[in-house]
Structure formats: structure tokens, C-alpha cells
């Protein structure tokens, strides 16, 4: 893709650790970034300011992305800005950090709705715009989709379902020229790592071939690759981005 061609990216969870890093990776002159965020207007404004310094045009959309109303506002904004969506990034999750066996039914529903269903609904809302642009989708998964993570609540099952949604959409949307992939990140530095106990963090680092956690920027680089035209023959793939932790632990 030529460096200054105008393009539009929707980043759900765009002010979080990972979503923010991906937004920074995508930001450049000619890029329009639509950042969906749930709370903390001050942090969102700060993130937008930083992205504008990189030359991007930034639109902030506050609201619960599990709500069709919020996704409708995002889709309308994209239509108003020309109706093309080159990239959709889904970096949204919620959980209560406790054993899965303690998760209540309403909590399960909330976690699956926010962390998984919102990807499907976002793809549905933006499919026409993605099709116009020959766009691609990247969802952020985590190692909890395939491995036991202590006190991860229902987020592991939610991420496993997210990956299944990615594979299914990849096939269904291919005839419309839309690619769908996922990045399965290991534990990275940031708010999730801070929410886990010291024991869990240290155990991850001890079993990592590199002896450390990943960084949001390292995960963002992989997401940007999957979004890019360089990955045009890759769809329905879940890319492990964990420094080898998943094969050594």
C-alpha cells in the first residue's frame, strides 16, 4: 500500500494497551482512525492527541462495543467519511479475575458478549465498508484460548470462541474480498499483567525462552502485518505471538 494513500481503520478498544499500540502502528498521514473506547475520556483524548502528532486523523467513539447502538454510530461515522473501512481491529475483552468454576451465569454472558459477540457484530456492521476497501480484520486473542491460565474467569472460553468466529468469518467473507485473522498474544506488559498475581507473571517469564513478557508494540507489529497487503494470502489464521512461550511452557 502506498505510504500516503487515504485509508480508514476502526480500532475497537483503541485506547487500551494493545489496541492503542496497534493504532500507533497504523497512524500516519492520510490514515483515518476511528477509536472505540468504553471509558476514560481523558485517556482517549491523550491517545488521540498522540496519534494526531503522527499525522493521522482521529475520531473517538465512546460506548460499549457490545451494544449495537455504539456499533451503529461507528458504522455511520465510517459511511460519513467515505464509506470504506480498510482495517477493523478488535481488541476488546472483559473478565473478572477468578476461577472459571466461580463464574456466574450473568458474568459468563457479559464476558462472551463483550469479548466475542462484539467481533461478530462489528464485522456485520462494517462488512459493506470493508468490502468496498478490500479490507481485513484482526482480532486479538490470548493464550487462554488454548491453555489454562489461572484466575482467567471465562475469558479463556471467550477467546476460544473468538478464534472460531475468526475462522468462520474468514471463509464466509472471502468471496467479498475481506480477510479475517487473529493474533494470539502471550502475556504482555500492561494492565492485564498487572491484574494477575506476581506468581503468575513470574511463572510466565520463567517459562518464556526470552525470560520476559512481551510488549504491546511487539504484538502490534504482528497485527499490522496481518492487516497489511503483505498478508493478502493469509486468512482464517491465528498467529501465536508470544516469544515461543506456547511451545516451551
Amino acid at each position: 500500500m502506498p505510504g500516503r494513500e487515504r485509508s480508514v481503520a476502526v480500532v475497537l478498544g483503541g485506547t487500551g494497551d494493545l489496541g492503542g499500540a496497534i493504532a500507533r502502528r497504523l497512524a500516519r498521514p492520510g490514515k483515518e482512525l476511528v477509536l472505540g473506547y468504553l471509558q476514560n475520556r481523558d485517556r482517549a483524548e491523550k491517545a488521540a492527541c498522540d496519534l494526531r502528532k503522527l499525522g493521522a486523523t482521529v475520531h473517538l467513539v465512546e460506548g460499549n462495543v457490545a451494544s449495537p447502538e455504539t456499533l451503529g454510530r461507528i458504522a455511520t461515522l465510517v459511511e460519513e467519511r467515505g464509506g470504506r473501512c480498510d482495517h477493523l481491529v478488535h481488541s476488546v475483552a472483559v473478565t473478572g479475575f477468578k476461577p472459571l468454576s466461580d463464574v456466574k451465569a450473568n458474568q459468563w454472558d457479559l464476558i462472551l458478549r463483550v469479548s466475542t459477540l462484539s467481533l461478530l457484530e462489528a464485522a456485520q456492521h462494517l462488512a459493506r465498508s470493508l468490502e468496498r476497501a478490500g479490507g481485513s480484520i484482526v482480532a486479538l486473542s490470548s493464550a487462554g484460548s488454548v491453555r489454562f491460565v489461572p484466575r482467567y474467569g471465562a475469558l479463556g472460553p471467550a477467546k476460544a470462541a473468538l478464534e472460531a468466529v475468526v475462522r468462520q468469518l474468514a471463509i464466509e467473507l472471502a468471496p467479498r474480498g475481506i480477510r479475517v485473522n487473529a493474533v494470539r498474544a502471550g502475556l504482555i506488559e500492561g494492565s492485564v499483567a498487572r491484574a494477575l498475581s506476581d506468581d503468575v507473571r513470574e511463572d510466565v517469564m520463567r517459562r518464556s525462552p526470552w525470560g520476559r513478557l512481551g510488549t504491546p508494540e511487539e504484538v502490534a507489529a504482528s497485527a499490522a502485518f496481518l492487516l497489511s497487503d503483505e498478508a493478502r494470502w493469509i486468512t482464517g489464521h491465528v498467529l501465536d505471538v508470544d516469544g515461543g512461550w506456547s511451545i516451551s511452557a
Binding site: Q39, N40, E62, G63, N64, A66, S67, V94, T95, G96, K104, A105, N106, Q107, D109, L110, I111, G153
Partner: protein, 103 residues
């Protein structure tokens, strides 16, 4: 819809949504019930409750700010002690009135 809700209506809405979120009988939820300490709500339940109240009342809430909005001096006392059905209802009513005033 929200502009037609009375204080009693908002309180009933809070009770009904709490009953759904926490799987409790409606009659066990009283105005002075402490949502965390008496009813057993966890942080994820408060997120769930927030989303449901936003949908029902057509307002925007920030669950993380609830400890602040219930007391201007957030450092005073225990948030969980002050976080009652009545206090949450009063806050929601103020948000609705503020939204109506700004409309």
C-alpha cells in the same frame, strides 16, 4: 423515556436490574441494601449492571467513577458502605436530570 421517570421509577429500575444481574428475588433488594456488602455484587457485576442501566435509562455511565460520584470526598469512608440502592438511584436520577437539562 428517561425524562418521564420519577425517583421511584429509577429506584424500581435499579432494583429490577440488580435482581436480574445477581439472580436475587426482587423483594430481597431494599433501598438501603448495600450493593456490594449486602447483595454480593462483584466488580464484573457492576459492569453488567452499568450496561443494563445504560440501555434501560438511555444514559451514559462510567462504572469506574461510581466511588467518586457517590461522595465528593472519595477518600472518606468505605465506598462499599455508601454504595446502596438508594445512593445509586439518586445518582442516576441526577444524571437523567442533567441530560434532560442539556437536551
Amino acid at each position: 423515556m428517561s425524562s418521564t421517570l420519577t425517583a421511584d421509577g429509577v429506584r424500581e429500575c435499579v432494583r429490577e436490574q440488580l435482581a436480574i444481574v445477581l439472580s436475587l428475588p426482587l423483594e430481597s433488594i431494599h433501598p438501603q441494601s448495600r450493593i456490594v456488602l449486602d447483595l454480593g455484587a462483584e466488580s464484573l457485576d457492576l459492569v453488567d449492571l452499568t450496561f443494563r442501566l445504560e440501555d434501560t435509562l438511555h444514559i451514559r455511565l462510567d462504572a469506574r467513577r461510581l466511588p467518586d460520584v457517590l461522595d465528593s470526598d472519595a477518600a472518606r469512608g468505605d465506598f462499599r458502605e455508601r454504595f446502596t440502592v438508594e445512593a445509586l438511584s439518586a445518582y442516576l436520577q441526577s444524571q437523567i436530570e442533567r441530560g434532560d437539562a442539556g437536551a
